[in-house]
């Protein structure tokens, strides 16, 4: 046995153990990317660095063997900064989107590419389920949204943006909400876990409805106070070409209220009532739309534009009170108000569970500049080549099924397939890495390579960790992956540009799963 110190703690490990294994034994988690316990260590990514207290040297913990008497620091500022720098360098040469630009541009951050793919496959109910996670009123927004997502759509650079707004409308109009309800059926259980906690939401416009919807789904009892005689607020005033709009409005608002929200109409909240609500509810969400003089007299701070909030949590100067929508700053964008509603629900939940209020979780996102002409072809490989569809029945009627599928098929699949498992993203998020810090003069042009039926290879996302090279060698594949070239231009390729098809059958999936980024991913 070898004894050494990890962050001051004495640890004994068997001879031949690495520092990574020693740290694991000491209960210290060290980030890794090029490491895979089935393979010989390689020491390439340098994200696992630790420091020797004596020499001050940085060591790749995945490969350096523990030696008697070593004194290792795993988490001081220098180590943190070095790991962060290695992540930032890797990111500077990592061309790819985590979330697609459309999703980032959407104020409600709706998962547009996934909705598009499901619609393209004709899975409308599932598409609606995806939409509902971020937007509770897709049919309404499908008629009135100003669609900032379409402005960011990469397809716009090639020809015209995907008609996202109409696709969402299709999902909302045709999809069956039963499935969504099935997902939220556990409300009773949630309520039990949370206890009978009440949240008062003041104002039943798009912001208030959205907040109430997501809070109610999370297990809270929401009471919605509306000064007029009906819920919906400014949604009623939208100019829409479609005659069915009033029905759509009724349907979607009812669907929200039917989850158990208590709506109190003709209830204008004044100072007295507000004080009273503070006593009777566990938290309050202010979504009145306008900042009236009455509100300024409430015991919460406000400024020129509206109620003062913490921008990432929507919390006001009075901790149990949150504010969203136009009362914070008048923008008059329904989708933005809906987004606020979804996000504030997360903050309120954190507040009421006694957690630190951090707001809606935001992950790191890798991004790159505009699509360049030489990249068009690569992106079109995965999509329908045609022009943007116009509904034959007229804009006011929306797509029919065939049109919908064709249009959804125009989506370029900009979002990464390994969005949630990519180690580069996870570590970049944890180390607050800045992709632009060491930005080069130009990103390498994006390519998408189809090497196998089951997997897709996007070389520009590759961090050259060599796991796929080592893994295919381990499985003795005839045409496995290999390093080609050297230096900054080194890349991973298949000898003689062969296809992996012939040989790489079982290994293909294994390799795609082992890839720490989205460079090799299951289709």
């Amino acid at each position: 046995m070898i004894s050494l110190k990890i962050d001051g703690e004495n640890i004994k490990v068997p001879e031949g153990s690495t520092l990574l294994q020693a740290a694991e034994k000491a209960g210290v988690e060290i980030p890794v990317m090029c490491y895979d316990d089935r393979l010989d260590h390689f020491a390439s990514c340098m994200v696992c660095m630790v420091k020797s207290r004596d020499s001050g040297q940085m060591l790749a913990s995945c490969s350096v063997k523990a030696e008697e008497g070593m004194d290792i620091i795993t988490g001081d500022e220098e180590v943190f900064e070095a790991r962060k720098a290695s992540l930032e360098l890797l990111l500077s040469d990592h061309t790819g989107d985590c979330q697609a630009p459309c999703q980032l541009a959407c104020p409600a951050h709706m998962n547009i590419p996934l909705m598009n793919r499901l619609l393209g496959e004709g899975k409308v109910d599932e598409a609606l389920q995806v939409v509902q996670q971020d937007i509770p009123i897709p049919s309404i927004l499908g008629r009135i949204c100003h669609a900032p997502c379409e402005g960011a759509c990469r397809r716009k650079t090639i020809d015209e943006p995907v008609s996202i707004c109409l696709l969402k409308r299709y999902a909302g109009d045709i999809g069956n909400l039963q499935h969504v309800s099935a997902k939220t059926v556990n409300q009773q259980a949630l309520k039990k876990a949370i206890g009978n906690k009440k949240v008062a939401v003041i104002g039943a416009g798009p912001a208030g409805l959205s907040a109430a919807c997501y809070l109610q789904r999370a297990g809270y009892q929401c009471i919605l106070y509306e000064k007029s005689d009906r819920a919906g607020g400014l949604l009623h005033l939208a100019e829409v070409m479609d005659d069915s709009y009033p029905e759509v409005l009724d349907r979607e608002i009812s669907q929200i209220l039917d989850t158990g929200i208590e709506l109190k109409t003709n209830m204008a909240v004044d100072k007295d009532l507000f004080e009273k609500l503070l006593g009777s509810s566990d938290a309050i969400v202010v979504a009145t739309g306008e900042i009236e003089n009455g509100i300024r007299s409430w015991n919460i701070e406000s400024g020129k534009n509206g109620i003062t909030i913490d921008k990432s949590t929507y919390q006001t100067s009075h901790p149990p009170v949150f504010a969203i929508g136009n009362v914070v700053r008048s923008v008059k964008s329904a989708v933005r108000s809906v987004g606020h509603g979804k996000e504030v629900a997360a903050s309120v939940h954190q507040y009421l569970s006694g957690e630190a209020v951090k707001g809606y979780p935001k992950m790191f996102n890798s991004r790159f500049g505009k699509l360049r002409e030489e990249e068009f072809g690569e992106y079109l490989k995965e999509s329908h080549p045609g022009k943007r569809m116009e509904p034959v029945a007229g804009q006011g009627k929306g797509f029919d099924h065939t049109e919908m599928q064709e249009e959804a098929g125009r989506c370029l699949h900009c979002d990464c397939r390994d969005l949630h498992t990519c180690k580069l993203r996870i570590h970049a998020d944890r180390y607050a890495a800045n992709q632009r810090r060491y930005k080069g003069d130009a990103f390498k042009p994006v390519t998408k390579v189809f090497v196998h039926d089951a997997i897709i290879y996007e070389p520009q996302k590759c961090i050259k960790c060599g796991i796929c090279v080592r893994l295919t060698a381990l499985h003795k594949e005839k045409y496995g992956f290999t390093f080609i070239g050297r230096g900054f231009d080194v890349r991973i390729g298949i000898p003689f540009d062969e296809s992996l098809e012939a040989d790489l059958s079982e290994t293909a999936k294994e390799v795609a799963m082992a890839c720490p980024t989205g460079a090799l991913a299951l289709k």
């Binding site: 390689f42 020491a43 390439s44 990514c45 340098m46 994200v47 660095m49 040297q57 940085m58 790749a60 490969s63 350096v64 063997k65 070095a82 720098a85 290695s86 360098l89 890797l90 500077s92 040469d93 060491y438 080069g440 003069d441 961090i463 050259k464 060599g466 090279v469 295919t472 060698a473 005839k478 045409y479 496995g480 992956f481 290999t482 390093f483 080609i484 070239g485 050297r486 230096g487 900054f488 231009d489 080194v490 390729g493 000898p495 003689f496 540009d497 062969e498």
Partner: protein, 785 residues
Amino acid sequence: MSKNEIDIHTEDIASIVAGLGTEKRSVIPILQAIQEKYNYLPEDALRSVCEMTDITTQQILGVASFYSQFRLEPVGEHMVKVCVGTACHVKGSALVYDALRRELKLGDDVHTDSAGKYTLEKVNCLGCCTLAPVVQVDNITYGHVASDKVGDILHDFENSKGPTGKSRIRSMDRKEIDGEIRIGLGSCCVASGSDKIRQAVEETVQKRGLHVNLKHVGCVGMCHQVPLVEIVPAQKEPTLYAKVSPDKVKSIINKHFSPPGLLKRIQNKLTDTIENIQNDGQWEGIERYHLDVREKQVSSFLGHQVLIATEFRGIINPLDIDEYIHRGGFSALGNVFRNLSPDELIRSIKKSGIRGRGGACFPTGEKWEAVARQDAPTKYIICNGDEGDPGAFMDRMLLESYPYRIIEGMIMAAYAVGASLGYFYIRAEYPLAVSRIRQALQVCREKAYLGQNIMKSGFSFDLNLFEGAGAFVCGEETALIASIEGNRGFPRLRPPYPAEKGLWGHPTLVNNAETFAQIAYIIRNGSDKYNAIGSATCKGTKVFALAGKVARGGLIEVPMGISIRKIVEEIGGGVAGGRAFKAVQIGGPSGGCVPASMADTAIDLESLSAAGAMIGSGGMVVLDETDCMVDIAKYFLSFTQKESCGKCTFCRIGTRRMLDILERLCSGKGEKGDLEKLEELAGLTRKGSLCGLGRTAPNPVLTTLRYFREEYEAHLEGRCPAGRCQELISYSINDECIGCTLCSQSCPADAIQFRPHEKHEIQQDKCIKCDSCRQVCPAGAVSVQ
């Protein structure tokens, strides 16, 4: 990869494989043989190799694409290689390269001319730094190439093509000779035309029936005076002739040797006269080329030097083993076998204080001891001759000129550590060194200095030669070992050190060629004598390749601890052309720039590392006021960036990002905060890289930032004070113009209108900054701002 450009016959591949083996480790020699045959690596040939051997497709392509020697695309009939080593770079090789591109009419990303005749490529270093800038067309080397003369080179090459004549040297009976003629045949000498001199001498000797011994000697070290011919008449003082041209050979020989008979003498006189008329040649006094060793210039060049690794420089015939033995060769080995146990030998080496000459200065005795200590039946030793520093050529010269000395050192090392097999690892860019060592090994085997029971000592040992395929990183010992094993030159983490787990997992001693070249001296003269040479911490001597803007460049061997000033001013004769000495770049891509103000810095481990540099490989490039330090930093970074193996993040991307910043600075696009970011990246790369290449790569940047920060700041403002960075300078013609029109004629971009007898003018929008006009102007009328 192109398919089936040429017909590949499986039998050809099979015979290559049969000669080199079917194991994984044979991959590099097999690739070299295939390229030798087809001039590139055809895909079908590689596929056949994989079918016939244990070599996998992954391995063969990974290796073929890693080493710069290998080409996966067909090339033109002839290779035009522009040396872009440090010395060539500071003397304008980039302009030469651009001029060749124009001459061959190459478009962007095209390297072969439309006729498929010439392929143009850059090479890291041809090791002829004193002749910079250098261009090689196939096997003919052209030195001091001016960018406006590249057409002449191709023309000359066209004319000189054809089968080379066979050697016409006569065998001489030693007893009859009237004296000896020594011709330098190191790469520098050969590049400067010594081969033609050799032919001229042989011809003269044969025609005149002289009884002289014609002798080829290794590098004399005075590479700034090449080609050199030394005449040693029997019982007379030797005379050294410098910068000899073939047409002067006859006069030189005639001055010293008389032909045997009267009739022959008259006959010769007659032929001479006829030849003179035919050639319209003018007889010039040969004294002009006469270079007496006692003259001040030469004695200061040689005077400060102490010859250990380069003992008998310019005297000894590299391959003549009898002469080597006659001058004390193998006596150290005999002494060791008779009188010293391996332990005692290691103690002597430790006592001498010698440190490794490869750059890191690790004590040699300790390294030997570490290998000797291993209880293992199989051990190896390796001579590291993978000199990758683009401004250094001492390993090449030592291997070419003193093969037996290095072999002797290796046999002693093998005896000390208990190894029975060893390897020479020599980069393939040094064909002369490779062939000399190959021949020397053969001679040693014939004379029983290698093989079973060497010198009847009971000790057996043999040596193989491995040709490196072009990768700077393979100078790092773990990468070198990976390369011999048939892999990409990826370094791995140490420990375990090669002393414990080296070649194929066995304990391995890796020493530099220069280290081995010093061992015999230590044994012959005693550890104390060696220990007395040098500084307090660094003992013995070091060979440096002195080049750049120095008056007398060449190979020098000096005691450790000597000051930079002594080397540059006394040995090197100061900066050439009356310009101001600005800095000296020591240690190549891992070293740093020491400014002129610190010229009293001693050359040893501590003083240099305090200055931010290191001895490194031993390249020493002198820079003058016209050299831009940001450009120098950019030059080295682009080198390390290309040579990085690409394995670890900091070296692969960190050096690239530093280069991005330097490129921005040199093109006037620098941004606020760039210098700070550069320092930050340099610090991170130094700390976070896996091997020595990455850890030292920031040194050229850090030292120039430290000593020449104001130059960096000037670049941030869009100025290049030294007038180097093309995008920050402009050419104009001043009032000195005499209207000779030469500039207009030489301008490849038609930027200067032809106006005889008038002051010329450069049209800025057309000017491509190729420097041609400045080079041809006889009046110094072209200014650069």
